[in-house]
């Protein structure tokens, strides 16, 4: 009852005309900026931050939050239509969203993304309202061994993202982990594999890897495909509405994605990208439609979108209740709060209850606004695909260049994108899928950090991963998953050998 009462009060705060206006402005600007490739939520919040200095703290936070989840939603639009992740977390949406667009189902993919984002957002809001204190406590109980085991499970599941051979999928994950080590080692301060290049000291930005592997790599492939007329889709502009079967197929993944996203969003340092990657990998294992994943499965759009949007909301839990930012964007939120003299932490719920509950209620309003704003705009976004590809792809290249350049105002990032773009094309040529690489790259630095902490705390005893109950259970699940992946690959191979008409995989 207390929660309902507090939420009711929060709703009154959020429905104040000024807060409603700032929420709308935030969501609108966030979506617009998020659509632009490479300019993600962090850049969007940075751009909007100076404007919030003149607002009341609650209005400012509501507007920043609107920009944040608006940008996260907007990122999926570029992922679906152009295979360019607008934000890092929407890179997973590319895997099935873009094939759907190429099949002439861009409208349905965007609709599914909007509905899943809405579902994930609402679920994230409910989780934040009900479980904020409890989830914060649970996250506090996670030690390095548990974090390591969760990440390991995520990585093994990520190899399942690959539609090709599991060995190639795991190899790509390992390569991603390796590239994640480039830069300054945060524990010792030593430079690793930077080759003396100062720009590599901070490592390779995720946006560069995603833009290169997915954006540039796909563009090189698509130019010739376009010349052959493979991209001339018959797009039904009137049909944005999923069929009854597609609705049915989306419901369970939205719930699963929202649950996984809510959990990962609440863990400091994980964030939406990890949430959407893990949710996608798990869905690919449990979905009855798993064979269609990577080829335009609607579940493959719904699950990462639900996960990243719910994680976007629950990322505020550690930020506001512990003062621990889960991501760089959340660090900006903490910075904004501190400029108002508000110190995030367990006392925030007591000392600034109106702000906390006003923000929670604004999630509801913001997500409704996002839906109202974006469903009618689907037609406009889809019409982008009607533009002949010969005009489209040079424009996309320019957007990639500007997006990457805007990260640090440094052309080195553009050169690096060129390298990853060429690598992405060669990977496709060699039949290596880039998605597991990206997931390994995201999770690698965190995995290394937790491994080193766990080994230090256990005085070099590696059995600690098996003896602690949570990590032990997770590692057993990981091992079972690995055995299952290789068993199914061998079974498929044997089936291929028995069938003379089937080419060798």
């Amino acid at each position: 009852m207390d929660i309902l009462y507090s939420f009711g009060n929060g709703l009154l705060v959020a429905l104040e005309p000024a807060n409603l206006l700032y929420c709308f402005v935030g969501v609108f600007l966030g979506t617009f900026i998020g659509v632009l490739p490479g300019i993600g939520s962090m850049a969007a919040i940075s751009m909007i931050l100076p404007l919030t200095f003149y607002l009341e703290p609650t209005s400012a936070l509501v507007m920043i939050a609107g920009v944040y989840y608006g940008a996260e939603y907007g990122g999926s639009i570029a992922s679906i239509l152009m295979n360019i992740p607008g934000t890092p977390s929407s890179s997973i949406t590319c895997i099935d969203g873009y094939p759907m667009a190429r099949d002439g189902r861009a409208g349905i993919a965007l609709f599914a993304s909007a509905i899943a984002s809405f579902g994930g957002g609402i679920m994230g809001m409910i989780v934040m309202a009900i479980l904020a204190p409890a989830l914060a406590q649970l996250a506090l109980n996670f030690g390095p061994t548990e974090y390591f085991a969760v990440i390991l499970l995520g990585l093994v599941a990520a190899s399942a993202v690959s539609n090709g051979s599991p060995i190639k999928g795991i190899a790509m994950v390992a390569a991603g982990l390796m590239f994640g080590t480039v830069g300054v080692d945060i524990t010792t301060g030593a430079e690793r594999f930077t080759m003396g290049v100062p720009e590599l000291r901070d490592g390779v930005h995720l946006v560069i890897v995603a833009m290169g592997l997915f954006g540039v790599g796909e563009l090189i492939v698509s130019i010739r495909a376009n010349a052959k007329g493979e991209h001339d889709n018959e797009i039904d502009y009137a049909n944005f509405y999923p069929s009854k079967a597609e609705w049915k197929a989306m419901v369970a993944p939205i719930f699963r994605g929202s649950g996984i996203g809510s959990f990962f969003g609440a863990l400091p340092g994980t964030g939406q990208t990890v949430a959407s990657a893990v949710a996608y990998a798990i869905e690919k294992k449990v979905s009855p439609n798993r064979a269609k994943f990577g080829k335009g499965a609607i579940e493959g759009v719904a699950v990462p979108e639900a996960a990243n949007n719910s994680a976007t909301q629950t990322a505020f839990i550690p930020t506001l209740t512990l003062g621990v930012p889960g991501s760089a964007s959340m660090a900006l939120v903490i910075g904004a709060l501190m400029m108002y003299g508000i110190v995030p932490g367990p006392r925030l719920l007591v000392d600034h209850a109106d702000l906390f509950w006003g923000l929670v209620a604004s999630f509801l309003i913001g997500n409704v606004l996002l839906l109202i704003l974006n469903i009618p705009l689907i037609g406009l976004w889809v019409k982008l695909l009607k533009i002949p590809y010969r005009y489209m792809y040079p424009t996309i290249i320019v957007l990639i260049c500007v997006g990457v350049y805007s990260l640090n105002n440094n052309v080195f990032d553009v050169w690096l994108t060129l390298v990853f773009g060429w690598a992405g094309y060669l990977m496709r040529l060699f039949r290596f899928e880039p998605a597991p690489f990206l997931i390994g790259f995201v999770l690698g630095p965190m995995m290394e950090e937790q491994l080193r902490r766990a080994m230090l705390l256990s005085r070099g005893d590696a059995t600690v991963f098996l003896t602690r109950p949570i990590s032990g259970t997770l590692i057993v699940i990981t091992a079972l998953l690995l055995v299952y992946a290789f068993y199914s690959a061998m079974r498929q191979r044997r089936a291929g050998q028995n069938s003379p008409s089937t080419p060798e995989a």
Binding site: S165, A171, L177, R192, I220, R224, T395, V398, V411, L451
Partner: protein, 163 residues
């Protein structure tokens, strides 16, 4: 190896190379990469089990990748399916477009940089004639000027600084 060489001879005159060569090449590339990281990791220091060194994680992941790469090479050498024909023209043109942007944006400004980038990127598509490429480049560069500098206010120089 003998089988591989025999198949190499057998397919030498075919239009498309079988995927075996490309797949094995990919695996070999990863093998080289893993060796670089293993050697580099050992040079950085692997530390002790209690206090893992800077190079420990690259060495661990490098060894895993090396093993997997050998598995990939072994598996792909048995692959008999056709390989995709590479599109080197698009490969060079798209890479060239990024290179042109990187070389020009700081020197002559965002707008002319985008103009040249657009032209370079559009080169591999013969369906758009040169006047069309010029028109598209002009349109895209002006639109980006308005959007990124005018509307969003990104701190880029639109044109070369005269001083």
């Amino acid at each position: 190896m003998r089988e591989f060489l025999l198949r190499l001879q057998q397919h030498a005159k075919e239009k498309h190379a079988p995927h075996a060569y490309f797949g094995a090449l990919g695996g070999a590339g990863f093998l080289v990469l893993s060796i670089i990281f293993i050697v580099g990791g050992f040079e950085l220091g692997v530390g002790s089990p209690r206090r893992l060194g800077t190079g420990a994680f690259p060495v661990i992941t490098g060894f895993i990748l090396a093993l997997l790469s050998m598995g990939v090479i072994a598996a792909d050498l048995r692959d008999t399916t056709d390989a995709e024909k590479p599109d080197w023209i698009s490969f060079v043109a798209i890479g060239g477009a990024l290179a042109v942007f990187a070389l020009t944006v700081g020197r002559i400004g965002l707008v002319p940089g985008i103009f040249l980038t657009t032209i370079t990127a559009s080169l591999p598509d013969p369906s758009l004639r040169f006047p069309g490429k010029l028109g598209l480049a002009a349109l895209v560069s002006l639109a980006c000027w308005g959007l990124f500098i005018g509307l969003i206010g990104l701190p880029f120089d639109a044109f070369m600084r005269l001083n």
